[in-house]
């Protein structure tokens, strides 16, 4: 068994490694700016490869990884800032964001349930993927509460985020949906904070609307999801 000090050192090592790989991948993304090189995906794949090559279990990695995870809560709290700075937008587009987020949440829950059932998933798996459209801490709580597998839910949350960021811009282009408000609401409702970080790249207005939509969806999903299952 490792001593407390060794665990702490290993944890620090994993944090530094993660940050290093992420910074490198971000640089790569900046240079070749294609959505396929989304840093969280490439960095994740690289770290997974490193861990499997050296036979390091995920639980060992999480000695450091949990510290990064801990920052997710305050990061959600920090979303109050774009909301506050863009509060005049809320007055103007509050109804649009609320309407879009409601429609999105219902599509995610009811549509997701129907599609998963049609695909032959069992109850436990349906409950695992149902909260996938909302931000990780909320989705994992809901998964736990309804009898899903929380860590697997986290993976599907990331998948929903990455899907939106990778395919979203093409879908909007194909369907000629280029309204800033609509795009912001779409990114936030379907792809939570990962989508919001993409929307922020497009502009503070789109980012703020996305973060409102994501928040509304998180609250709505938290209220509706336990009733559905």
């Amino acid at each position: 068994m490792m001593s407390g000090w060794e665990q702490w050192a290993a944890g620090c090592g994993f944090v530094v490694m993660s940050a290093g790989v992420y910074v490198l991948m971000k640089e790569l993304y900046r240079r070749y700016s294609t959505p396929l090189l989304l840093p969280v995906v490439t960095a994740g794949v690289v770290i997974m490869m490193v861990l499997s090559v050296f036979h390091i279990p995920y639980e060992t990695y999480m000695q450091g990884g949990q510290w990064i995870n801990q920052m997710l809560g305050p990061a959600v709290v920090a979303l109050a800032y774009p909301l506050y700075r863009q509060r005049h937008l809320l007055r103007r587009y509050g109804a649009a964001v609320l309407g879009g987020a409601c429609a999105g949440s219902l599509t995610a829950l009811v549509g997701g349930m129907a599609m998963a059932e049609a695909a032959g998933a069992d109850t436990k798996l349906i409950h695992t993927i149902l909260p996938k459209s909302v931000t990780t801490p909320v989705a994992m709580d809901l998964s736990q509460q309804t009898g899903g597998i929380p860590s697997l839910t986290a993976a599907f949350v990331i998948l929903a985020g990455v899907t939106g960021v990778l395919a979203g811009p093409y879908v909007f282009q194909c369907l000629r949906m280029q309204h800033e408000v609509g795009r912001g609401v779409g990114f936030g409702s379907a792809s939570h904070a990962i989508g919001t970080s993409k929307a922020l790249e497009n502009g503070e207005k789109e980012g703020a609307l996305s973060s409102v939509a994501m928040t509304v969806c998180a609250v709505l999903t938290a209220l509706i999801c336990p009733l559905l299952v």
Binding site: A80, A96, G99, A119, I158, A160, G186, A190, S197
Partner: protein
Amino acid sequence: MRKGVRIGLQVGGLYLLFWVGNLLQEIGHLPIPGSIMGLFLLFFLLITGIVPEAWLAGGADWLLKVLPFLFLPSFIGVMNYSSFFIHQGVVLAGVVFVNTLLVMVVSAWVGTRIARRKEDA
């Protein structure tokens, strides 16, 4: 260096609000997660001017800048489910992929419709 210390302290402040949010959720038995409660609380404090914007702005901007990085550890958790993904995961991943795009289009469409009506009025 001083900037780093300031951001660190501000992130600590945001963590405190997250903690209070969790406390509120627990005491009130609310279905809303603690992080979202913390968001509401901070928004309220900013609107009322109890917390001036500059107090936590640096920490908040920094956290939002590194947000995608914070997802990395949960994402890496996928490695524990590699056999699952070979068997059932592909189908479920397909469901999530299609459903996500559907959610995106539906919410964006509804949002655009309502926003346009407002702009035309």
